[in-house]
Symmetry: C2
Subunit: 389 residues, 2 copies
């Protein structure tokens, strides 16, 4: 796809051999776009990558990503460290420092061990090669139980191109522009402005429609790179094919982040429909998806439609109880103001599945919205009570 | 204090002998005020009590409360059942049905077993007596680990009066007008309008400043009754003493609800200070108090100030990272954009306490706000995954 990459253990993570540093590079600056966290406490790499993308008007030669340390809330030292990371890459590749982007993920409030990171970057660049995407997917993991990657080939009248992607979760996930770390690559030739538009549009209903714990992180970053290596030029005519391809890969990765959410045992697809506006639908779906009572009930296999109604009722959205309905899977449990508890055993059996769909009909309009979430287990508590100990 | 009460097991709860029905009565209609949930899916007893308070302009003879069944999402049958409960009380006491208020708490979406409730009410009224407040406190419990009651005597120039109160939690707690069920009584003589004002003012920083799981229920109800039995008349001059007394009792009960939160092992006092506005301060304190990552970190004894900053950053409030500070107990862990991790061991030792104070300084103004919450434990998950099974 016109990219090379490398991943290694430089010593940020304590565990010997655990990949914690990765670099992806193109042979020359290529079109790049980035979406970043809306958290007001933005990490140093987020601030720096935004600046670099602005300075180059969306042209990037390489991205360096580390896991194990978020380089967030690290003050001026943190900014200096992020700059050093990009400078090491630029020096080794022989490009401008602005042509390099950076992302970090891991513990907040700890400085990077630059004595290990800087030599690690130099080694990584000496090892750049094609076909190392799987190592990259592992090198960006923190508490993720499995690596996340996907790729599709897109056929258009102008020719065939490829889209690949990788992402990591897995706690502090309610992205509000992008997920913690995500990277999408394509060998299509896409002008930077169009790449940014495609990234925004594809993230809206994928990376921005998931939640694990309602926590928007300090480091959320989603990058897209377009190398042009396929020779396929994206214009108004081929844009829908690019968008469709990005949506396919992004949806797979976003749902995988939920599947790998901390302590998750089930993926839950929450749909709010027949809302007055799209915003209303989105707010209800999101409120349900973040409700600890809904998430624990589904974890316990309890078809507790009352909690779904109660949570919809506190979402601050117009809604008529007498016209509302709750469906779990395809089983109607509440309709026209009346419970259908005779269907509860069937719904309880359905909840034994790993993939659950719940639907709340607000009976107030025609808009709908879907958000993916996971169940809340005792394992989430264990992971986050012991994260730093 | 001019009230009699009775509590018994009528058979709503499955466990033999578990108190599930209680009535409190005055000898004649007395000043009454109520605050109710802002959830749009309001339970039948909430709708009926609001109507009765409006019709009588705040004069009430008795309140009947049941636990074990919330009578929420129960349609027209639910409304008829709530009416029957008030009618049974009115018939036995010989008053108007509008003079009776009703509240229910427990499972949502299940109809009341009226064949047991109605005779239960008649028996309760035949047993009305003074000094049974402790039974009442137990009769309104659901998953609460302990009963909650408090009383104070208030001395004023006009004489001495008493204020008592009881409340229950313990999950689905982020009241947005009042807690699930709370009852305050006084033998002061208070005009209904003044009683309502005092109830609203005292609830703002007590019952409305707590959260267990961010879930505003369908049944939240807080009542106040003023019998006048002490002969002390509350007017503009004695109002501050009434308010102070209500605040004392309400704060004790509200913090007890947090202490008895589902799965709670610690009470956490979250203060946001130096915010631009009171709303900003309140929003940051509330967002932190509902953060699963903060609540699990404190559960695990981890002085993870990074999560406090990250959560403050996603609260959507103006805030300057370089001027922000985080204090746990009296230990400063982050200040002027710089971590003080040398203090982490001391903070970890402090977190072994049952009562924890955390403070986030936003460095943006002078407003502050406090919210009480509890930690998030695996026990919360267990309770709510198995609630109906």
């Amino acid at each position: 796809m016109g990219f090379t990459s490398a991943a290694l253990h430089c010593g940020i993570k304590a565990k010997t051999g655990a990949l914690d540093l990765t670099v992806i590079a193109a042979e020359r600056p290529v079109a790049a776009a980035g979406l970043f966290t809306t958290n007001l406490a933005q990490a140093a790499p987020v601030l720096l990558s935004k600046k670099h993308l602005q300075r180059t008007a969306g042209m990037t030669r390489a991205i360096v990503i580390n896991s194990g340390c978020a380089n967030a809330c690290t003050g001026s030292q943190g900014l200096a460290d992020a700059e050093t990371m990009t400078r090491e890459v630029a020096a080794a590749l022989g490009c401008n420092v602005e042509d390099v982007l950076v992302a970090s993920t891991g513990v907040i409030g700890v400085n990077l061990p630059m004595g290990r990171v800087a030599p690690g970057i130099r080694t990584a660049i000496s090892q750049l090669a094609r076909g190392r995407g799987s190592d990259m997917a592992r090198a960006i993991m923190t508490t993720d139980p499995f690596p996340k990657e996907d790729a599709v080939r897109v056929e258009t009248a102008a020719g065939t191109f490829a889209i690949g992607g990788t992402a990591k979760g897995s706690g502090m996930i309610e992205p509000n522009m992008a997920t913690m770390i995500g990277l999408l690559t394509t060998d299509a030739q896409v002008p930077p402005a169009l790449l940014r538009r495609a990234l925004e549009e594809s993230a809206r209903d994928t990376f921005n429609a998931i939640t694990v714990d309602g926590e928007c992180s300090t480091n959320d970053t989603l990058f897209a790179l377009a190398s042009g290596a396929s020779g396929v030029v994206i214009d108004d005519e081929t844009y829908p094919a690019l968008l469709e391809g990005l949506l396919t890969v992004s949806r797979k990765l976003a749902v995988d982040i939920v599947r790998g959410g901390e302590g998750a045992t089930k993926v839950i697809r929450v749909t709010a429909q027949d809302a007055r506006t799209s915003d209303d639908a989105r707010r209800v779906a999101r409120t349900i998806a973040n409700s600890p009572l809904v998430k624990t009930a589904i974890h316990g296999g309890d078809p507790n439609w009352g909690r779904l109604i109660a949570v919809a009722g506190r979402a601050g959205v117009e809604f008529e109880l007498s016209r509302a309905a709750v469906t779990i899977g395809s089983i109607v449990l509440f309709k026209d103001g009346r419970p259908h508890d005779e269907a509860a055993p069937e719904a309880a059996a359905y909840l034994k599945n790993d993939e659950i769909a719940v639907l709340v009909d607000l009976g107030a309009g025609t808009a709908s919205s879907t958000v993916w979430t996971c169940d809340l287990s005792a394992e989430y508590v264990r992971i986050n009570a012991e994260y730093r100990t």
